[in-house]
């Protein structure tokens, strides 16, 4: 206690010295408040949601309302205190030393967290607000109505209610035409219905409260006027629930209502994990089932028919010498699929109907789930142990709910209509690939991001301390990544870990959260088991005996993901260590720094380009007018640009621009390539002689160009001399200035038009790089167009198929000659590297144009150099596209097509 007090005093005086133009410093405000309160000053907001046993944290604070903590209900204050103390005592000198210097750090970085500030002011506003007055009204109850049914508020009080923006508090939305309430002057539409007969009400308890009123003639209701201003108030935690339904779903671990689970049991949905070596004539029927969902076991379809799958799994293994993958069957006339995965002696089964997932998709989903579980729990055995069951149940409940709602996260588990109520999900492709959808930002921004992440990872705290740190750190950072709105913007993780984390975030709903709902604060902490830290099959180096932790901090639509290691070179890890506030703050500070730089705005600008210059929306070719509208700005620009540069198409001009000081050899090789390919249009891709030569070329070109890109970028920054990456350690630059500069500099930067020709013909593309775990694809298009939907849906169907065919080639490449002779692989499929199909689509939205057909290609190509990449494009038949050229441009990323 003493220590902290001392520390906060210290911080205060430091701050006074460093305060800049009256801006409230984050650290100051936090310590300020801690000084005033009696509680331990350094307990952060999320501390109460630290799980007692495991040290895990999942803390989500919504905008701009009230904190929701998850697991703290049972905990009492004393316990928290003692744990904190113990933690403090076990942690080394390191933190104490660092803590003392914290303030310096903040002042240096000049960080202000605007959110906390605005939060404070909001509070004040409310207290002063005149309109927020409360009124009490006595209402006659319409008791002649029957007291059953859903809408008691309506029948009893004569009021229509809806919820306020938080989704929980009730708002008067209207009146029944002859109700008493209508004539009561003190009830106005838009009022917050606070309590009935002294009982506080919200969406969840209103019906129960009202049911107790049966027999009474009058009720006393309390209302509060909201009148244009959002009422913000710090109510006792958990009484006023201000979370959106989705956040509630994410954080509440309560098991589903039994009734719904029973309904789910009747449908072909299910998961089971079964031990195959425990088959015992003597044992009970279900003793070999380690875990299943939905429960009870007796009603789970998969568990009931487990005999079929156990038999098939081992029988087919014997006959065909290859692993069983998938079974399709009709269950009650519904076509459904069951996928298998063998984990040592145990069998992993997942069942979904065809309408939710096609066979290939189901296989991918099962692989994702098992990988996610292994990442979270080390082994599947661990994850189905009793103590984790609740969490795993929660994951599966969210998963099946999503499946039933046609991929929508926020739906309810409603099964009244049985199977017919389940929407048919569209084809998936990008979502099933083990890669992360990535957004390319301009170089200026990339430098800033890389710099910030690197500084976080370096954990270099020397400068904060006058005296040298003579103690070990608590964590080393293994890697970090930054997501914005569901897109990866930067990653310093090994690709396996990146994909691990991606799956984790996907199935925990965190990605969806960051895509749809900006949160105020999100903190997730738990032990994790990244693939890169598993025992190596070939022991090239020795992995340190250590524990790894996943830390996710979020704010707004941004997520910063960090994997930290305790042990090895750092202090030995505690058992079930809770996150250390210092590291959490450190990550938050990094995120806030990125936000201050305006990078989220920049990313948003790229995401919201609808549909952006990269792709276009399918329109029938005769429909000239429309086409012009869509493409005019871009093509005009392009034309202008071309005119000013060379008469050759844009590839050349880009290269020219970029390669001012590039060595001539590389320049010529890329130049000639692009020229050649342009001339022949759809250049041949497979001819043995020249084909391989060609497929090597773009690689050299690309690498050369990449190098060049960096060169020129650093040159630029050198010339201008200010957007150098070191702004965080030097004091000379104001962050707002950098932000301004960054945003204005990149204002004209647009993604390159990938397809050639004056008219953009590219509808969609996907580049899948398995080695790097990176997926390139245009950002989601928000323009609704049935033609586009139809085209994209077919594109996904085809890509899934093409992807499957390519797997033969990839598999064969890795085979030893011995395996080859034994393998049953179809010999005609072993070397396919390009695969395309053309379709005709009729225009749907416009009746006059019904006769006009759109012809489009879906083409996939496998690139082997420098490592295997798959690329899929969808384009109009009008101009033949060359895959190599497209890939080449796609990998160059950005054309700075500034005017």
């Amino acid at each position: 206690m003493n220590e902290t007090r001392q520390f906060s005093d210290h911080s205060l005086c430091k701050n006074e010295n460093n305060e800049v133009s009256g801006d409230e410093d984050w650290s100051e405000s936090s310590y300020d408040s801690s000084c005033n309160s009696d509680s331990d000053s350094s307990i952060p907001d999320w501390d109460s949601s630290v799980d007692e046993k495991t040290g895990q944290v999942l803390y989500i604070e919504c905008h701009p309302f009230v904190t929701q903590t998850i697991r703290d209900d049972k905990k009492d204050k004393e316990k928290i205190f003692s744990r904190n103390q113990s933690r403090r005592s076990t942690r080394g000198k390191f933190l104490q030393l660092l803590r003392r210097k914290e303030v310096k750090r903040y002042s240096k970085r000049n960080i202000k967290i605007l959110d906390s500030e605005s939060h404070n002011t909001n509070k004040v506003k409310f207290q002063d607000f005149q309109e927020g007055e409360e009124r009490e009204v006595t209402l006659k109850v319409l008791n002649e109505h029957v007291l059953r049914g859903n809408n008691l508020v309506e029948t009893l009080l004569g009021i229509n209610v809806s919820t306020l923006s938080d989704g929980m508090r009730l708002m008067v939305a209207g009146f029944l035409h002859d109700s008493y309430a209508k004539y009561e002057r003190n009830i106005k539409i838009g009022d917050w219905l606070k309590s009935v007969n002294g009982l506080e009400v919200n969406l969840q308890n209103i019906n129960t409260v009202l049911q107790q009123l049966s027999g009474k003639n009058e009720v006393l209701i309390k209302l509060q006027r909201v009148a244009g201003v959002e009422v913000t108030k710090d109510p006792p935690i958990n009484i006023l629930n201000n979370q959106s339904a989705f956040v509630r779903q994410l954080t509440s671990f309560t098991t589903e209502e039994d009734e719904n689970l029973q309904e789910l049991c009747k449908l072909p949905f299910g998961f089971a994990y079964i031990a195959t070596d425990k088959l015992d004539e003597m044992g009970t029927e279900y003793q070999d089932i380690i875990y299943c969902y939905p429960r009870p076991v007796q009603k789970n379809t998969l568990c009931n028919s487990k005999g079929i799958f156990l038999t098939l799994s081992h029988l087919l293994q014997d006959i065909t010498k290859s692993a069983t993958k998938l079974t399709s069957l009709f269950f009650d006339k519904i076509l459904c699929h069951i996928t298998y995965a063998q984990f040592e002696k145990n069998l992993f089964l997942l069942m979904l109907p065809e309408m939710c997932a096609k066979p290939e998709e189901l296989e991918a989903i099962a692989a994702e789930i098992s990988r996610m579980l292994i990442f979270t729990y080390d082994t599947l055995e661990n994850c189905f142990k009793n103590e984790e069951i609740q969490h795993v149940d929660h994951i599966f409940s969210m998963f099946f709910k999503r499946m039933i709602n046609g991929g929508q996260w926020t739906g309810e588990l409603k099964l009244q209509d049985g199977i017919s109520g389940i929407p048919i999900s569209d084809y998936m492709f990008e979502d099933t690939l083990p890669a992360v959808c990535t957004l390319n930002l301009p170089n200026e921004a990339v430098i800033q991001i890389e710099d910030a992440l690197t500084e976080l990872e370096a954990c270099d705290y020397r400068e904060w301390n006058e005296e040298p740190l003579d103690c070990q750190r608590i964590f080393t950072v293994l890697g970090s990544a930054w997501y914005h709105s569901g897109y990866l913007l930067a990653s310093h993780l090994t690709y396996e870990d990146l994909v691990d984390i991606h799956f984790f975030c996907k199935y925990q709903g965190i990605l969806h959260l960051s895509k749809t709902e900006p949160v105020k604060t999100l903190i997730l902490w738990r032990e994790c088991f990244p693939t890169s830290c598993r025992a190596l099959t070939v022991p090239i180096y020795k992995l340190p005996e250590a524990r790894r932790y996943l830390l996710i901090v979020g704010s707004g639509k941004d997520l910063l993901v960090v994997i930290m290691e305790a042990g090895g070179s750092t202090e030995f890890p505690e058992v079930n260590a809770a996150p250390d506030p210092f590291y959490v703050e450190e990550a938050q500070a990094t995120l806030a720094h990125l936000q201050d730089l305006g990078l989220p705005e920049l990313a948003d600008r790229f995401i919201e380009m609808n549909p952006g210059p990269q792709v276009t929306i399918p329109v029938a070719s005769s429909n000239k007018k429309k086409l012009d509208v869509l493409n005019f700005s871009m093509s005009a620009k392009q034309a202008q640009f071309r005119d000013s540069a060379t008469k050759k198409p844009e590839v050349t001009s880009i290269l020219k621009r970029r390669s001012n000081d590039q060595s001539q050899t590389i320049y010529t090789s890329t130049y000639s390539l692009s020229e050649d390919t342009y001339d022949v249009h759809s250049e041949d891709s497979g001819s043995q002689g020249c084909g391989s030569e060609l497929s090597d070329d773009p690689v050299a070109g690309r690498n050369g160009d990449k190098k060049n890109k960096y060169d020129s970028a650093s040159d630029e920054s050198g010339n201008e001399g200010n957007c150098d990456g070191s702004q965080m350690s030097t004091n000379s630059f104001d962050i707002t200035e950098i932000k301004q500069m960054l945003l204005t500099e990149t204002e004209d930067v647009r993604p390159i038009q990938i397809a050639s020709g004056t008219v953009n013909v590219l509808y969609h593309y996907v580049q899948f790089d398995k080695l790097e775990g990176i997926l390139l694809s245009p950002p989601e298009c928000k323009i609704e167009s049935p033609v586009r939907e139809s085209v994209i849906s077919n594109f996904r169907r085809c890509c899934q198929h093409i992807h499957k065919i390519f797997q033969n080639t990839i598999r064969f490449k890795d085979m030893s000659s011995q395996e080859m002779s034994k393998s049953m692989i179809n010999k005609s499929l072993i070397a396919i590297k390009e695969y395309g199909a053309m379709f005709e689509c009729s225009v749907l939205e416009d009746k006059e144009l019904k006769k006009n057909k759109i012809l489009y290609w879906v083409v996939g190509r496998l690139f082997f150099n420098p490592h295997i990449r798959e690329m899929y494009v969808c384009y109009n038949d009008a101009i033949p596209q060359n895959m190599i050229e497209l890939a080449f441009k796609l990998n160059m990323g950005f054309c700075e097509s500034r005017q």
């Binding site: 038999t311 079974t327 041949d684 179809n826 390009e834 695969y835 199909a837 379709f839 005709e840």
Partner: protein
């Protein structure tokens, strides 16, 4: 490559027959029992087992007439092909013994005995599985479709056939060259593709006699009433087949056939020359073409050919492998990408029937999603390129040398297809 196919009585689980393809051990009885067992057990759980895939294999269960279950295991092919094959195999059983015999099953042993006749046919049907390695000489069979030969003499033979038809008093006749249809009457074309295919196979299987007279059932047209299937060899490798009632007798038919075709042996001999190219020699097709596969989906016929003109083919796929590649291309690319496969469409229909109107409204978006028509597809491998083009009913799949530029394939295919379908003489 390996494939098993076996048939069990669905009530008792007794094996009826079992065939295999490839150099593999026969499946032990216990394995067959278990495979049938899971299917039977599933039925008690309201589950109808359809298929299971492993890394390289595909296993399929199919119950027919609630009396027999066919179980197939095959490597290297798609599920759809295996399913179609099993349907063909069941048709083959019906062809020999009639549907009533299978339905009633008074005596399993008798059924077993009778079905022995169809073993050669089943074995031939297994050849249409796509296994990606040239192990048999019949690697040109395509499941569910009948093979044709395109001779310049087809037109003449058609005229001869029609006069013969009047003599014999049968609407259903055709001329086979090496088991491939050269000319057939309109009614013959009206038969189900499976029926035509099975009859062609029946005519050529175990060809030790010059003429045959076999009682058969038509699995689709007349599964309960038997016909006579009569074949006569006109010159070696050329047969005339017809479906007849009780009259005329085999002797009379032989006599009539000799009379009709006596004067035109030259035409026939010339036509036989077209084999094994299956495709008139006078057609000058592009040098880059290694093989072609021409399909007419509505009538269920196809023609497959490797282009022997190719000289500089040392590097490219070996001759027999070419047909395999073409077939794989058709099964994998054309069937799976350009056409939504029949099974799935059927299933969807079934579901549609069962669900109420509400779900039909929801179905509409998927109808929108399916509003595309496949036109063209291609793939490029290290060693070859394939291209397929759909024009109305016709599909032409072409196997190219890998040196051909991708953009040129389209034009060549288009030209070749137009040349073939516009030729009246070969009567495609």
């Amino acid at each position: 490559m390996s494939a098993y196919i076996f048939c069990v009585d669905s009530g008792s689980g007794l094996p009826i027959f079992s065939r295999k393809k490839g150099n593999i051990e026969t499946l032990p009885f216990s394995v067959k029992g278990s495979l049938n067992g899971v299917h039977m057990y599933g039925k008690s759980m309201k589950m109808e087992l359809l298929n299971t895939i492993t890394e390289d294999y595909c296993v399929s269960w199919k119950e027919f007439e609630e009396s027999v279950v066919l179980i197939g295991i095959s490597s290297g092919c798609t599920q759809e092909v295996l399913n179609n094959l099993m349907t063909s195999i069941f048709s083959c059983m019906v062809l020999i013994v009639g549907i009533n015999e299978i339905r009633s099953q008074r005596n399993i042993d008798r059924l077993k005995r009778e079905l022995k006749i169809c073993y050669p046919l089943v074995d031939r049907l297994l050849d249409s599985l796509d296994c990606g390695s040239p192990t048999t000489k019949y690697n040109s069979d395509i499941v569910g479709m009948v093979e044709c030969i395109l001779c310049t003499e087809n037109h003449l033979m058609q005229i001869l056939l029609e006069s013969y038809m009047e003599y014999v008093d049968s609407l259903y006749s055709c001329i086979l060259i090496h088991g491939k249809i050269a000319a057939a009457t309109e009614s013959w074309w009206s038969l189900h593709p499976d029926e035509m295919k099975l009859l062609s196979l029946l005519a050529t299987s175990e060809n030790v006699t010059t003429s045959k007279d076999i009682p058969i059932f038509l699995p689709y047209k007349s599964p309960t009433m038997a016909f006579r299937f009569v074949t006569c060899t006109l010159i070696p490798d050329v047969q005339i087949c017809s479906l007849c009632g009780p009259t005329p007798s085999l002797l009379e038919i032989e006599h009539l056939a000799t009379q009709c075709f006596k004067s035109s042996t030259e035409t026939l001999t010339a036509a036989v020359q077209t084999h094994p190219r299956n495709f008139p020699l006078m057609y000058q097709i592009d040098e880059g073409i290694l093989g072609v596969l021409l399909i007419k989906r509505s009538s269920g016929k196809y023609m497959i050919s490797k282009n022997p003109q190719q000289n500089s083919v040392k590097k490219s796929a070996s001759n027999s492998h070419r047909l395999d590649i073409l077939r794989t291309f058709y099964y994998q690319a054309v069937l799976s990408l350009l056409f939504i496969d029949g099974n799935k469409a059927d299933n969807e229909k079934e579901i549609n029937k069962k669900t109420d109107k509400k779900s039909k409204i929801q179905k509409e978006p998927t109808d929108v999603a399916n509003s595309y028509v496949g036109k063209e597809t291609y793939w490029c491998s290290e060693y070859h390129k394939c291209h397929a083009l759909v024009i109305h009913d016709n599909i032409l799949c072409v196997l190219f040398n890998s040196n051909i530029p991708t953009y040129a394939m389209r034009m060549i295919t288009q030209k070749t297809l137009n040349a073939i379908i516009s030729d009246k003489q070969i009567g495609w």
